[in-house]
Amino acid sequence: MRLIDLPRTTSFRLALLFVVLFGLSSLTLFGFLYWRMEGFLVSRVDDWLIRERIDFLREEPARLPLRLDNRARNAASDERIIALFDAGGQRIAGNSVAFPQQIPVFDKPFEFVLPKEDGKDRFRGLVHRLPSGSQILIAQNLEEIQEFDQVLVNALIWGGAITVVLGLAGAAGVGAGAIRRIDAVTLAIERIVQGDLSSRLPTRGTSDDVDRLVRVVNGMLDEIERLMQEVKGTCDNIAHDLRTPLTRLLGGLERARRRAATVDEYAAAVDEGIEETRGLLKTFTALLRISEVEDSVRRAGFVPVNLVEIAKDVVEFYEPYADEQNVTLTFRADIDAAQPISGDPSLLFEAIGNLVDNAIKFTPGAGRVTVRVFHHDRTLGVAIEDTGPGIADAERDAVLRRFYRAEKSRSAPGHGLGLSLVAAVARLHRMELIIEDGRPGTTFKLQSDTQSG
């Protein structure tokens, strides 16, 4: 992570935005507070001014100068001043202050400035004109209010500074955390891009938004890895499985070229070649069919079908073959299994047929194969049970792979694509292909959840 990247991260910007928003709202709140506080203090001063004015109005005018002088002498401070002036503005009694130079309105509070030894003082006061023509000034020094203001503003500045510093630090922290996380994810992705498909993006295990995204991506990677392995396995297997017939074909043709002398011999070689090529074509057709079936567009051709009918047709179709192989083929169906489902009858026939075909092929003489259509616990499906040698646990997943042929069945005819096709048909019909240990033998199940349709 580089520091220069920090301001570009979303979390940093978000944190910054919050700092700014918080600052603005604090400023507004503070301003409002300041305004109301100031108003409150000033109105208190005004209240006092008016109270004093009324008080002095009640006083005998002749006693006023004496009382004002007494008051000025006894006052602890000259915070609040009251002084009497004659009509010309000369002081007669009270606190010794100069008469304000301008008086906007009589009997209304106003602010004015008076000089003092080291500068000037701000006052708020009012002037009342007595019937005698002399004027009385009542005022309060505003220094205290100003000090209060100062404290308030200082608090604002410090509070603001702390907020900004903490906010920035928080934003940097959050941004750095995000960068570390993104860096870790980026690194993992780069590793994957470079070919390490088994690598996964790191999660925190907190189920936060990034974790959720990472989990989806990891799921996608699992699927990609599975597909890649399947493709690789398929390619390997195609190459492997096609090499044998191609070698035979080539060998036959070369032998004919070398040895064949008569038309009959050539014809025999050509027939052999045709036979091999037909087998190859068959394998390719099977491959094409699987990828076509996997293309879910085919669902457009779905019609309502009945698994019981199809399974019964399959059993009837395979009965002579089972007879020939000395295998007893029986059919059973649960009473409520005859439910219409949406599907492609030919594909379902082919899938069930493939499973039955395999079961018969891999069940030794005098064995039994049972096709059972079941419907219980909201699961509808077909089970094909055989009494054959069974499939080793280790091979159960592998048999679904294209071209895979269990060790025991290497010698049996077939191209090893049957179960892949069944799996593809199952996926197309949103069914599950399950391989179970039949003890003895194997059970293949094609089943779907009737709830989800």
Binding site: R278, L281, E292, G301, F317, P320, F349, G353
Partner: protein, 227 residues
């Protein structure tokens, strides 16, 4: 001699199809584009048309076919396509196609299906019996006799035999049998059909008699009167 029009844009595929059909004893014309195919087909004189689904020239196979049907040309049409998806097939047949074949296909499959398509359709009077050599099928009672000897067949075996007899002397492929007798379709049916056919053979051919159902090299059968 029956005349067939092949409408196929790929020159090599067209040449192979034409070659196979000529070898099968048909007189063959070919067209490489939709408009050309439409002109030739509309001019008439063909007993069947082999039509590629994808064609250049602004008029594809299905368009050509709908146009032909719209102007009342009822010649049987077999559609060729690289797609075997069911809805593709349904769409092809709905547009007026009589049969559908997915590439790559065996030429035997093509010629066998064409033969069935070109079989003279007429005989409106309902048949009540089929007869090939000394093999007789009563279509009303579903009884089968060979040389007067009653043969007991299972229902499916009966339908297999009926189909073979209706196409006496014509090659029918496994795929066609599977489609017509079992009513399921896939392009690569298993050899299990052979088991059904050999069972049927054992039932209809008495000891020592010449077999009536012959296997055609590749993937088909033909039923002939035993001589």
């Amino acid at each position: 001699m029956a005349r067939v029009l092949v409408v196929e844009d790929d020159a090599q595929t067209a040449a192979e199809i034409v070659g196979a059909l000529v070898d099968h004893g048909l007189e063959v014309d070919s067209a490489a584009t939709g408009p050309d195919g439409l002109l030739r087909a509309a001019a008439g004189g063909y007993d069947a048309i082999v039509l590629d689904r994808m064609l250049p020239g602004g008029l594809d196979g299905l368009g050509l076919l709908s146009t032909l049907r719209a102007v009342g040309v009822e010649v049987p049409v077999l559609i060729l396509s690289a797609l075997s998806a069911v809805d593709e097939r349904v769409r092809g047949l709905r547009a007026g196609g009589d049969d559908y074949l997915t590439k790559p296909f065996d030429f035997l499959e093509l010629t066998a299906r064409l033969d069935v398509l070109m079989r003279p359709r007429g005989a409106l009077s309902p048949e009540t019996a089929l007869r090939v050599g000394n093999l007789e099928v009563d279509l009303l009672t579903h009884t089968v006799r060979r040389g007067g000897q009653l043969i007991d067949l299972l229902p499916r075996e009966y339908r297999l035999l009926e189909y073979l007899m209706r196409h006496e002397g014509q090659v029918v492929t496994r795929t066609m049998l599977f489609e017509e007798v079992w009513h399921y379709r896939y392009d690569e049916p298993t050899n299990v059909i052979d088991v059904h056919v050999s069972k049927l053979r054992r039932k209809i051919d008495p000891e020592g008699a010449a077999p009536m159902i012959q296997t055609v090299r590749g993937s088909g059968y033909v039923l002939n009167a035993a001589d």
